[in-house]
């Protein structure tokens, strides 16, 4: 394992009660790669994200981030080690303004008591605020920075969450359904934005249902079903894989399609 590997999972397993939600999942993600994690509802994608980011402890297996084992490291230190994520259901801080939400993402960049005790809200401009504002602009988000996030559209909030995750300058950026609920224009903008930040930027691991988004963004796709990996390979091969089709459509239907005379 070297600097070349951004994230390596080995035998990661998680049970909830008697149900195995994540079952011996292993994969390596090279630094700079753009990988999608897909699967039917309940396949364990978000649980896997929660295991990697430390929301839940793993039952067994190892998680290595840029060469360092993190499976026993508390979540906030995993962030310091270079991991950032967004959430399936938007989880911006409801009582913080747009700019404050983004600046919260800078937290791991800020060190020392002095910078924590500087009254940033009283400063008309500060280094941190400028960075946050420019990142919002880069992402094409044009809103009042002092607005309440609850007043913004779903699509905007979704994108602000991606920007917030980027503020820590992560090595690995994990996005949980970033395109869900976006219209086609917003999805295209998001794709372009993620492609631009991925150039020499963070490694991307994306959970997503929108397959055209996945096709455009990710060269590799990992498919989970009932907590196990059933496919791991190039994105363009996903649709042709029998097991993947069976997982999404059911066995019988795949058989029927195969037997139909029109095929």
């Amino acid at each position: 394992m070297s600097e070349k590997t951004a994230l390596a999972l080995k035998g990661v397993t998680k049970h909830f009660g008697g149900i195995t939600v994540v079952d011996r999942v292993s994969f390596d993600i090279p630094a700079g790669a753009r990988t999608a994690l897909i699967g039917p509802n309940g396949a364990g994608k978000t649980t896997l994200f929660n295991l990697i980011s430390g929301v839940y402890p793993v039952d067994s297996g190892s998680i290595v981030l840029a060469g360092a084992s993190i499976e026993n490291v508390p979540p906030r230190l995993r962030v310091r080690a270079g991991l950032a994520r967004s959430f399936q259901n938007i989880r911006l801080m409801p009582h913080l303004s747009v700019i404050e939400n983004v600046m919260l993402g800078q937290h791991v960049q800020v060190s020392g008591l002095a910078s924590r005790l500087t009254p940033i809200a009283w400063q008309r401009r500060s280094k941190w605020k400028e960075i946050a504002l420019s990142k919002l602009r880069d992402a094409g988000i044009d809103v009042d920075p002092d607005a309440d996030v609850s007043t913004l559209s779903y699509g905007l909030r979704k994108r602000i969450e991606v920007v917030r995750a980027l503020m820590s300058r992560p090595r690995l950026l994990m996005l949980d359904e970033p395109a869900a609920g976006l219209n086609s224009r917003e999805t295209a903008d998001l794709t372009a934005f993620l492609m631009s930040i991925a150039q020499g930027g963070p490694t991307l691991l994306v959970v997503e249902h929108d397959m055209s988004f996945v096709h455009e963004l990710c060269e590799r796709t990992i498919v989970l079903n009932f907590g196990r990996i059933i496919y791991d390979g190039p994105t363009r091969g996903v649709g042709d894989d029998d097991e993947v089709r069976a997982a999404y459509l059911g066995r019988r239907r795949v058989g029927m399609t195969g037997a139909s005379p029109a095929a």
Partner: protein, 287 residues
């Protein structure tokens, strides 16, 4: 100034400092229902140092703050192990334990209480209240304040932004303890007498109400809440015994209409001087 007015002003200033002592941890998501315990520690600390150790006020008051802050620091560890209503009950139990301890310990005068020889004048109390208010506004303007609010909003996500929630809450609880202690010391030196019965659970409940009804999103909350609750009972005095009913109904109404508190972040931002000036500039440019 009449004795009546200066008396109300002194109580207002002391309650305001006390309210900020409850506000700082509340802004970080910790409800302290044992505020009277911290105030009692400050009051008795200052009283003992003044009457028994014969120290001047420039020693008794900072020392009382320091002691209450230290107790806040120590108590925050067991308290923060608990969640939600259990945390609130733990702080409540702490307040009761302090009152009980003071009542049953002859060292601090027991039920008779303690006389405090050194007297503090009103301007000094007002100055302290102004300084504490400014400090609270400053604290909320820092990154520390922002982090505290984010923990209050969503601790799990704050942690996933790299925030050390525990350390932030311990710091907030310590600062809160020290401020409540300061209010206690000022109380002791202003009224020249302390007794354990004053620092009861009603006081803890009231001061928490000041803060929650004022709002915990900005430092304006405790100021507005304390003003509201100090003035309202005085205004209602003309209604005789009915004032308790009206007062209670007012509290219920406030909670029903504005559960987020009177002042919210958005409201403070919209009414801020900076905003108003920017708006005027914009209007000027447009004309």
């Amino acid at each position: 100034m009449s004795g009546y007015a200066s008396g109300i002003l002194a109580i207002f200033c002391i309650n305001l400092i006390f309210a900020y002592g409850i506000f700082v941890p509340a802004a970080a998501g910790q409800i302290n229902l044992g505020g009277a315990g911290f105030q009692a520690i400050g009051a008795y600390g200052a009283a003992w140092l003044s009457s028994v150790a014969m120290q001047p006020m420039w020693i008794t008051i900072p020392a009382a703050m320091l002691i209450a802050g230290l107790v806040g620091f120590l108590i925050s560890f067991p308290v923060l192990r608990m969640r939600g209503v259990y945390m609130v009950l733990a702080t409540f139990a702490f307040g009761e334990a302090v009152a009980g301890f003071l009542l049953w310990t002859q060292f601090f005068g027991g039920a008779i209480g303690m006389v405090v020889p050194a007297h503090i004048e009103l301007p000094a109390i007002c100055g302290s209240a102004a300084a504490v208010t400014l400090f609270a506004f400053y604290l909320m303007a820092t990154r520390f304040g922002m982090i505290a609010r984010s923990i209050n909003d969503d601790e799990a996500v704050a942690t996933l932004m790299g925030v050390n929630a525990r350390a932030t809450q311990v710091a907030a609880f310590t600062i809160g303890g020290a401020l409540a202690g300061l209010s206690g010391a000022l109380y002791a030196h202003n009224f020249s007498f302390v007794e354990a019965q004053y620092f009861n659970s009603f006081l803890s409940i009231y001061i928490l109400l000041f803060v929650l009804i004022g709002g915990v999103q900005t430092a304006w909350g405790p100021l507005v809440g304390t003003l509201f609750f100090t003035l309202l009972p005085e205004v209602l005095r003309i209604g005789g015994s009915w004032r308790y009913v009206v007062f209670g109904a007012a509290i219920v109404l406030m909670m029903a209409v504005r559960p987020q508190g009177i002042v919210t972040r958005l409201m403070a931002d919209r009414l801020s001087l900076r905003r108003l000036l920017a708006k005027r500039r914009q209007a000027g440019a447009g004309a």
